[in-house]
Amino acid sequence: MEFYLVQALNGLASASSLFLVASGLSIIFGVTRIVNFAHGSFYMLGAYIAYTLVQALPTGAVGYWLAVLGAAVAVGLIGAAVELLLLRRIYRAPELFQLLATFGLVLVVADLVLLIWGPEDLLGPRAPGLRGSVMILGEPFPTYELFMIALGPLVLAGLWVLFHRTRWGTLVRAATEDREMVGALGVNEAWLFTSVFVLGSFLAGLGGAVQLPREAVNHTMDLHIIAEVFVVVVVGGMGSILGAFLAAVLISELNAFGILIFPEITLVLVFLIMAAVLIFRPWGLLGRPEGPPRTPAGEFEPPLRLLGRGFLYFCLAVLASAAVLPHLLPTYYIRIACEVLISALFATSLGFMMTVGGMASFGHAAYFGLGAYGAALAVTYAQVGTGLGLLAALGLGLAGAVLFGYFCVRLSGVYSAMLTLAFAQIVYAVLFQWYGITGGDNGLLGIWPSDWVSSPLAYYYLTLTVVAVSLFLLRRLAFAPFGYSLRAGRDSALRSEAIGIHVRRVRWVGFVIAGFFAAAAGGLFAFLKGSVFPDYSSIPVSVDSLVMVLLGGVQTLSGPIVGAGVYKVLEVFVNRYTEHWQLILGCVLVGLVILFPQGLLGYLVGRFGRSGEEWRGVDGAPAGGRAS
């Protein structure tokens, strides 16, 4: 009995440290609707800065706690700079676009940290006065963990007072509820956003700084916490601080007791909890259903239009040059071209879901990974050739998308996207842990193409064919009656229901189509690389697909192709010449975000579509063609 009580205390201590970071993220999202990927980076910066300050300030309790506080303040200031210099410029961009900017920041911070603090783990000192342990129910319990247990509720109480007893807090709550209305009432939104961002970053920095006695500061802290705090925020209900606290406690306690019964569960537990919560409570524990989305006055997205002959000729010209190109290139570049084509298909499948269906996904890599494993499993266990292998890829991807899509389309917005992430992580964990079948993290090796496509050139043509046909089909689907139903559901679910569209079913089919084509990309990738790993369904791959879509422009159908081309080529070439590719890639992304807040293709369309003739015919451009 005593043991279980102490274990519950352990859970509470972990919950506090999760909550500190998650509360900041939740506040930022609640008000600004920014999905802040860089929140983990702020947390990591908090830990590093605290480490440095502790060394610099005089030893002893005063110096130590000043250092912790100083680190949090410093991170708050960094947050202010990020908001003022970067995010403020792109609030009016399409939904989720800010995610691209924060992803660029993640890369930049990850590399800067290495440059400033070096690669080695830094074990900071323990907190003065809280070094030892006390006996609780016969078990030694670290005093610092007791401090952590107290800190969580203290911060929660402080935030409650701030939000309910100050004018600023009232404004923040109002903005969380309805930010257009707050703006309409004459509140200076810009400064409200800045101050909220500063508070959120401060909390992330504090969360990092108080980790100092608990773990060695290292350059992977950002990625190791970010997924989990997102889970906490979503499980709690986005924008709900108390919800975040409850979610942190729930997750930490289930973890503390889960490992007693089933120690291997560590990989997937948080995502299982999230999936379970979201299936039964689509807006998290304490979140509120969002009202129907409103388009800001005076702005509306131009509808997709069927494009005319000009675009057709353009496509044929691209295809023809793609067919000739490999004859002019050395083998290595043919393989790069294959990678670019596969990425283009992968990104377009996600783009289809986002642009036509209005459904975002943070876990699109699930279907890419399932496709890759479908092919690899068929080759490994049934010794099939490339053709049947690709069919198996489609089959497994389809099955996954049908199953997961059923649940995901019941939710909306970021909740739906987070549920896709949960499923992707479950797929990842199964691939990672089912050693007997999937080979675990060592993957399946020797998945090479059959003889008829074994030369790089032949495989390139196979890839080109599959990708071109898939892209054509995706485009065709967007303009088929089904595509119109899907777009109707995206723009107004209520009205669509009223005219007899089964919105949920249509979205489900749209989701499955996206998963199906992602699996095709995964299958092609498996044979290109000759081996598959659980990494293919991991979060970074999902993020890559999002980045490509957003970079190209989420309001156009062909944007993801452009985004994939630019991103992949950048990645390949920057990575080849420098170890600091993260820094450079991150800076380039941030620069592109500021220059082209509509995405690259979105920019071209906006810039040239209206005036010049030459771009008539690209998506979204006015009156490029006739309606079928």
Partner: protein, 400 residues
């Protein structure tokens, strides 16, 4: 700008010609996860750079200089495969080397098998590289997980402890380490019991709960496989909660400076570990290695430094023995290759392409003068003492 272009192109075409005049260098492709695990690969890179410079200063191999073209895979196996293609197709390297993470080592090994290129795996520990997934074109330098676990199990068997608990990161390395250790110890000591196991996700150890869960089982001894930031958390939390009091701990790799030194004055005294006591090895060849390294980098060597250094010394020895850079000749030369190194004579076994480089087994002791832990009462265990024989290898390793 446009006017300068033809000139630049002309210049570019002259480059290969100029190189040919200087006695064509031997190109070696090197791939590693530099940006993903810089803390372990920084010293590794320094090690191989020193080896290559030494080799070239002595006139190179076969009268040709070695040129290493190094690429960062960022911890992604598909990127490693892309680099391998580029290095072989574009740069026309004679062989590939490197990798740290096991799955990336296996990905490059699979590439080497298909494209018939020699691959000298430097750091990955997975047993599969030379055994269940072994093939003609891949060799590995570092002692694998199995070997190091057997070394530790031999020490563990001498302890009175009967009730054992294990903690290991939840991935292939952790799993195969625990399996190998259990198997070896249970064989030596049929009376031991396995009372608890914990599998935290890699670098996400929830230290408090996990330590408590281990303590609940009241084991006599603990086998630890966590490393890096998990290790720091585990040691700190375990010490505060008295987990290690009156308990033996046997720990994989913890004596390697990469993992031990960040713990500073909290180095866990008395743990039985594998590691690299570079400060205490008295062999003159090794002393020279340490002195050269310190002079060159103003830093002391880590185990990665040694592995990087030895990998490229082995490659040079193989090229010299083969007398050419032809892949098949190189592979034939590598099989059974013996070369002298700062840590004694090392041999690549013909039967499984595993080198006989061993590891140092000893106890951790805190050295107040240095402010960090060191290994004491250590001994060097050569790989040949723990590697299984040809019958066993024939069972697990596919025929070429």
């Amino acid at each position: 700008m446009r006017r300068r272009l033809p000139f630049l192109l002309a210049l570019l075409t002259m480059v290969p010609g100029a190189l040919a005049l200087a006695g064509e260098p031997i190109k070696i492709g090197e791939i590693n996860s530099y940006s993903r695990v810089p803390q372990f690969l920084d010293p590794y890179k320094k090690g191989w750079e020193m080896a290559v410079d030494e080799i070239n200063a002595a006139g190179g191999v076969l009268g040709r200089k070695l040129v290493v073209i190094s690429r960062d895979d960022g911890g992604k196996p598909d990127v490693a495969e892309r680099h391998a293609t580029e290095l072989v197709q574009n740069e026309k390297v004679s062989l590939l080397a490197g990798t740290f993470l096991s799955h990336i080592g296996l990905a490059v090994s699979s590439f080497a098998k298909r494209n018939k290129v020699l691959f000298v795996a430097a750091e990955p520990l997975s047993d599969a590289i030379t055994w269940s997934k072994g093939h003609r074109y891949t060799f590995r330098l570092r002692p694998n997980t199995y070997e190091q676990c057997v070394m530790l199990a031999r020490e563990a068997a001498k302890l009175p402890a009967k009730r054992w608990a294990t903690i290991a990161p939840n991935y292939e390395y952790g799993q195969s380490a625990v399996r190998a250790f259990k198997e070896a110890l249970s064989k030596l000591r049929p009376d031991v019991e396995w009372v608890e196991e914990q599998w935290p996700a890699l670098f996400k150890l929830d230290a408090g709960s996990t330590v408590q869960a281990l303590a609940r089982a009241r084991p006599d001894a603990i086998f630890n496989v966590t490393f890096g930031s998990d290790l720091a958390k585990f040691v700190r939390e375990g010490t505060t909660r008295g987990l290690f009091r009156n308990r033996a701990v046997v720990s994989l790799l913890t004596g390697e400076p990469e993992y031990l030194d960040p713990l500073k004055d909290e180095a866990p005294e008395g743990w039985i570990v594998t590691g690299y006591p570079w400060y205490a090895i008295q062999d003159p060849a090794h002393k020279k290695f340490v002195a050269d390294y310190e002079k060159r980098y103003n830093d002391y060597p880590r185990v990665g430094s040694l592995v990087g250094y030895l990998t490229f010394k082995a490659i040079a020895a193989a090229i010299a023995k083969a007398g050419s850079t032809d892949t098949e000749a190189l592979v034939d030369a590598m099989e059974g290759l013996e070369f002298d190194s700062p840590v004694g004579r090392i041999k690549f076994r013909k039967i499984d392409h595993q080198s006989t480089l061993g590891a140092w087994v000893g106890k951790i002791k805190y050295d107040p003068k240095l402010g960090r832990g060191i290994m004491v009462d250590w001994k060097y265990v050569d790989g040949s003492e723990v590697l299984p024989g040809p019958e066993w290898v024939a069972k697990v390793r596919p025929k070429d």
